[in-house]
């Protein structure tokens, strides 16, 4: 208890007892205590002058916060479809068996808990898992699982596990203008300072750069709206909450091109007039926190952030990193801001938009990691240069995270306008059945569409490119995505909270594994109906896009669904005769109509 008290006061002190730092405070406390008991939440609430219910509500929102005891070793298997294709389901069952623990339970007198988590962004080197929320293990196989069980049983501290297990490769397979020509630190900031804020903004607008997070809003316009919004102070936020399953390009950018990310943010700060910068780093990338902070320290020493940047008096801008705690919805920019403010990551009502009233009410520009990297290059080489790459409506290059059934998974940078088939050829695929572009909320393409192009006006993408060959069951792919959205719904609005759950249950009913394959055509009609409803009634884009892959796969891979149908008419999700058999036996029925199971010998 004294250790808890010391931990708590050190963490609270570090954050100046600011209630807006609640998520960071809970995360840092839990790193010491393992989990967050209710009386500890009560003490946090008291110190921050918040209610216990509020703190409990925030703690209960994020998957990486534990309000019940967990094992001293907390193992989370990445549950993305690409990890599953590589055998994660069997490996997790094997680890559970070896440790004598059921999934989701604590075993061995508090020694270990094993569970699943949403995509960890290591699809090109899976199956992957997280240990204690700060170590990632890649390329799992039966041997690693066997050794891991032994290391846990003998209580070897995680940092002493074989170093090769923690190796995360960048796997850059195709570099273009962004990945191929890293910028010298400071050169983009110097170029922007020389040009001035307005002229830099003009270059951004001339470049026609569009946001790389998926929505494709014009970056120059966003910065201009933020710059012109009334308010004394402004904020620049980098969205590094790369939660879309199958996407891992921001992980590589943050690993290898962190300077350009921070440089792009600094250019944005000059343009919009911000003094404060925040990076929202997804909890799954917690292991990148210290390396990124080291880059920030060096840049501070180089006077590339801090006061009088580049020797220009009055140009003051600094960057802090906020680590998330396992919530896909925080990739939505207003939910991300709520989380930055220490609250539940529920998307805000818009308008007002973040560029008008964002972080703590200040005009805020939220941009993707890749957008800032592109902006730093545009600051150096000009808008016309960028606009000359790609297509007129989708300028520049796009970085893709390629995974699934291909010989060379990894990072591929292409100009916009590249055909799907070219990417498939480059990454070494054969007998491809489908490609999921842009993750579960994106588009599922079948073979006859592989001539289409990556572009906002054709196949838009936030960066995921998951390949499925003809041996794969596309129904199971869609079912994995349905589980993902039900798992990640924030629960705020009716259609997403209940709809994602209904979709998941329907898909499980159709699946042989869990529902006995009791599907009928009626179930597919209900799925269609839910898709339509969620598409037009949800509060945010997560719910609206939650059924995209369902709609695509039903339309394009209907036989994959029909294999799961028992009849073309209604089928209940249970066996009526089996349910009634106990009652029938008790009432002494023995006639053939009673459908009694033969009695056990």
């Amino acid at each position: 208890m004294d250790i808890e008290r010391e931990t708590l006061s050190a963490v609270l002190g570090r954050h100046g007892r600011d209630p807006h730092a609640l998520v960071q405070i809970l995360r840092e406390v839990q790193e010491q205590t393992g989990w967050l008991p209710r009386d500890l939440l009560g003490r946090v609430a008291g110190e921050l002058e918040l209610t216990l219910a509020h703190v409990e509500g925030v703690a209960g929102f994020y998957r990486f916060f534990h309000t019940r005891p967990v094992g001293r070793y907390r193992v989370l298997f990445s549950n993305n479809i690409t990890d599953r294709l590589l055998g994660s389901v069997g490996l997790m069952a094997d680890l559970c068996r070896r440790l004598g623990v059921a999934p989701g339970q604590v075993g061995g007198d508090g020694l270990v808990s094993v569970a699943r988590t949403s995509c960890t962004g290591l699809c090109d080197q899976g199956p992957a898992l997280l240990v204690n929320h700060r170590h990632v293990i890649t390329r799992l196989d039966a041997q690693r699982v066997e050794q891991m069980a032994e290391l846990i049983r003998t209580q070897v501290p995680v940092p002493l596990w074989p170093a090769a297990w923690f190796q995360v490769d960048d796997n850059i397979r195709r570099a273009d203008v962004l990945l191929g020509a890293p910028l010298q630190p400071g050169i983009a900031v110097a170029a922007a300072l020389a040009r001035g804020p307005q002229a830099t903004l003009d270059e951004l607008k001339a470049s026609n750069l569009r946001g790389r997070g998926g929505a494709g809003f014009a970056t120059g316009l966003k910065w201009e709206l933020c710059r012109n919004a009334p308010g004394a102070t402004r904020v620049v936020v980098c969205n590094a909450d790369e939660g879309e399953p199958g996407t891992f390009k921001d992980r590589v950018l943050l690993t290898r091109h962190a300077d350009e990310v921070f440089e792009g943010m600094t250019v944005a700060a000059l343009v919009v007039g911000a003094r404060q910068g925040l990076v929202y780093l997804r909890g799954e990338y917690r292991y990148l926190l210290e390396p990124l902070q080291a880059v920030l320290r060096r840049r501070r020493d180089q006077r590339l952030i801090g006061n009088a940047i580049g020797g220009r008096p009055g140009f003051d801008f600094d960057i802090a990193i906020h680590a998330g705690a396992g919530a896909y919805v925080c990739g939505e920019e207003s939910a991300l801001i709520e989380s930055l403010e220490g609250k539940r990551g529920t998307p805000r009502i818009r308008p007002p938009f973040p560029v008008e009233r964002g972080y703590l009410g200040q005009p805020t520009t939220v941009n993707n990691v890749e957008t800032y990297v592109a902006a730093s290059h545009i600051a150096v080489r000009g808008g016309a240069w960028w606009a000359g790459i790609g297509t007129p409506r989708s300028t520049g290059t796009k970085i893709h995270s390629v995974s699934g059934d291909c010989a060379r998974p990894g990072i591929y940078e292409y100009p916009f306008g590249t055909r799907i088939v070219s990417i498939l050829e480059d990454c070494g695929t054969r007998d491809t059945q489908a490609v999921q572009v842009g993750g579960p909320s994106g588009t599922c393409l079948s073979a006859f569409e592989f001539g289409r192009r990556i572009a906002f006006e054709d196949v838009p993408t936030a960066g995921a490119f998951m390949v499925f060959d003809r041996s794969r069951d596309m129904f199971e792919v869609a079912r994995n995505f349905a589980h993902f959205f039900a798992h990640e719904s924030c629960g705020f609005c009716t259609p997403c909270r209940v709809g994602t759950e209904l979709v998941m249950r329907r898909m499980d009913k159709l699946a042989h594994e869990t529902g006995g394959g009791r599907g009928s055509r009626h179930d597919i009609e209900v799925l269609f109906e839910l898709d339509k409803l969620m598409h037009s009634t949800t509060h945010c884009g997560l719910g609206a896009s939650a059924c995209n892959s369902l709609r695509d796969t039903i339309a394009k891979f209907r036989p994959a669904y029909e294999r799961h149908l028992q009849s073309l008419h209604f089928e209940p999700g249970f066996d009526l005769d089996a349910e009634l058999s106990v009652a029938r036996s008790m009432t002494g029925r023995r006639d053939p109509g009673a459908h009694l199971e033969p009695e056990a010998p």
Binding site: G42, T51, L52, A53, H54, E56, G57, G60, F61, A327, R344, I349, P351, A486, H487, E488, S489, C490, G491, F492, C493, T494, P495, R497, V498, G499, T500, E501, L502, R505, V526, E529, L533, S536, T537, T538, H539, G573
Partner: protein, 243 residues
């Protein structure tokens, strides 16, 4: 040409009829004032809009959105009472019914319940989806107030009333996804250990039967209650024009 200061003269078009509005009003606020019914559960004229139930979904300017959060725009065509949107509303109501445990015949709120009245209004005849039958214990710890979480639809009106009107912050929202639930702010997590009082706004604002006064069962017989005698839409029409 209308003078810019003549604010009462600006209007939008709701299902083919003009609805005047004041600058800064939402579609819902203006419609309610004009006695036009847009189905809703989490919206209440006395509280800041929430936008979570999605019953008030409308089409405005070619896009769908919640009438309670969309600012009214002069001259804009807004569709609300259409077959498509009412079908969506019915499905949303069915979702709320299967998500909780709603047994109208045995509920003290029956006849006064906005969820039930809106379901009648939208022609809901059954749950359509499989029931979830969640396990949600009631909180009967408070001497004067009962919370039956089985009926909670997460509209957060009690959260808002307790924080904004009563100044007590008795409630908050916890969990997430289908596990989202109402939390009570006390060390025990029970209502008895809060300072909630029966005359708090939060004690009477619940649109369903989740927060009820104790010892006041069926004082008005079923059949003579608020929505038994007049539909929710007719009441909205009658409310219009009042200050």
């Amino acid at each position: 040409m209308t003078a810019p200061c003549d604010k009462a003269a600006i209007s939008f078009v709701l299902d083919g009829e003009d609805v005047p509005f004041h600058d800064g009003e939402t579609i819902m606020q203006a419609a309610a004032r004009a006695g036009r019914y847009i189905p809703h559960l989490c919206w209440h004229p006395d509280f800041t809009p929430h936008g979570s139930c999605r019953l008030c979904i409308v089409k405005a300017g070619g896009r769908t959105g919640a009438a309670c959060t969309l600012p009214a725009v002069a001259g804009q065509e807004v569709e609300s009472d259409t077959a498509e949107l009412n079908a969506h509303r019915k499905t949303l109501l069915q979702m709320l019914f299967v998500e909780g445990n709603h047994f109208c015949p045995s509920c003290e709120k029956s006849g006064n319940c906005l969820l039930q009245a809106t379901a009648y209004q939208m022609g809901m005849e059954g749950p359509h989806f499989e029931e979830f039958y969640p396990s949600r214990p009631v909180d009967a710890s408070h001497p004067d107030i009962l919370i039956d979480f089985n009926r909670c639809i997460l509209c957060e009106l009690c959260v808002r009333a307790s924080a904004d009107v009563d100044g007590k912050r008795v409630f908050a929202i916890g969990g997430r996804g289908i596990g989202t639930r109402l939390l009570v702010n006390s060390a025990s997590g029970r209502l008895a250990d809060t300072d909630m009082a029966p005359d708090d706004r939060a004690a009477s604002v619940c649109p369903v039967g989740a927060i009820l006064p104790k010892r006041r069962g069926f004082a008005i017989p079923i059949g003579q209650r608020r929505y038994d005698t007049e539909s929710v839409a007719d009441q909205a029409h009658a409310e219009g024009g009042k200050p």
